[in-house]
Symmetry: C2
Subunit: 163 residues, 2 copies
């Protein structure tokens, strides 16, 4: 299920490219866009899922409309890099309400959290009550997000083993 490396042809890539932009596309729509039979397209889609190439789909929400107009990146730096401490903290951080994504990184910082909150006060509370209150956290640094955009991703041009 969690595959190591998968061989993909140009059709698979075309299917992925269509779906990365809009996971709501029906199988029929993808098939007709690519000039495939519906059953063929459905078959390849199922294979891509079973091979673990397509992990899942997440609906994209409008945070502002939901009353969470403020987004930020919170950089977290640790006191101790004991493996157990780091793992425990990581698990906790992903469960903090408002945390959209959590990156465990190498280098200057240890974690980068992408968060969305209701207000500046909520941002302060999130940092103080859920992050800096952990023993292993040495320091945090918060940067407001003016705007977040999706990039073209990895399917933009020819992949390593295109054929």
């Amino acid at each position: 299920m969690a595959a190591g490396r998968v061989e993909l042809d140009r059709i698979d890539l075309a299917i992925l490219r269509a779906l990365v932009f809009d996971s709501g596309l029906t199988n029929k729509a993808v098939a007709s866009r690519l000039g495939l039979a519906e059953s063929t397209c459905a078959y390849r889609l199922r294979m891509l899922r079973e091979a673990g190439v397509i992990i899942g789909g997440r609906v994209k929400l409008n945070f502002s409309a939901l009353g969470f107009p403020i987004q930020a990146i919170v950089k977290v730096r640790l006191e101790s890099h004991n493996a157990e401490h780091v793992n425990n903290l990581y698990a906790k951080l992903t469960l903090v309400p408002g945390v959209i994504q959590a990156f465990h990184v190498a280098g200057e910082d240890d974690f980068h959290l992408h968060v969305a909150v209701e207000s500046p006060e909520a941002l302060r509370d999130l940092v103080l009550k859920h992050i800096t209150n952990n023993r292993v956290v040495r320091q945090t640094e918060t940067q407001l997000i003016f705007e977040a955009r999706d990039g073209v991703g990895i399917l933009a041009d020819q992949p390593p083993a295109a054929r």
Copy 2:
């Protein structure tokens, strides 16, 4: 279409909560999970889309399986903060192959790029050929991502105006 603020009841929130974890759920599946009639669930879903609360869906890919096993955060700092320069650069950055997400942030850094690449060499090339080659870029700093996880997000607990 692009709504300012939307009033949601607990049913709407339950629908969103289900879909954020798995956008592939059918309307029927969501309805039965919540004990709603299918048509009711479909109606509310359509409203959530029209209100702009649900923006769209993006399929989540397994970058490693696709041959892009290395992820990183590239912090970008600028020379000039002239509005036009910043906007032009932002547009360019989102089009760099491998850039999954681009954050325009306030504070120490100007942009944070989440990238996925084939190899360490590809990471170097991405930074040198697509980022630092821009006149307005003063400095970059790259942090390898050990692991990226999704957080619980904003629907974890009671929202601001739950009722």
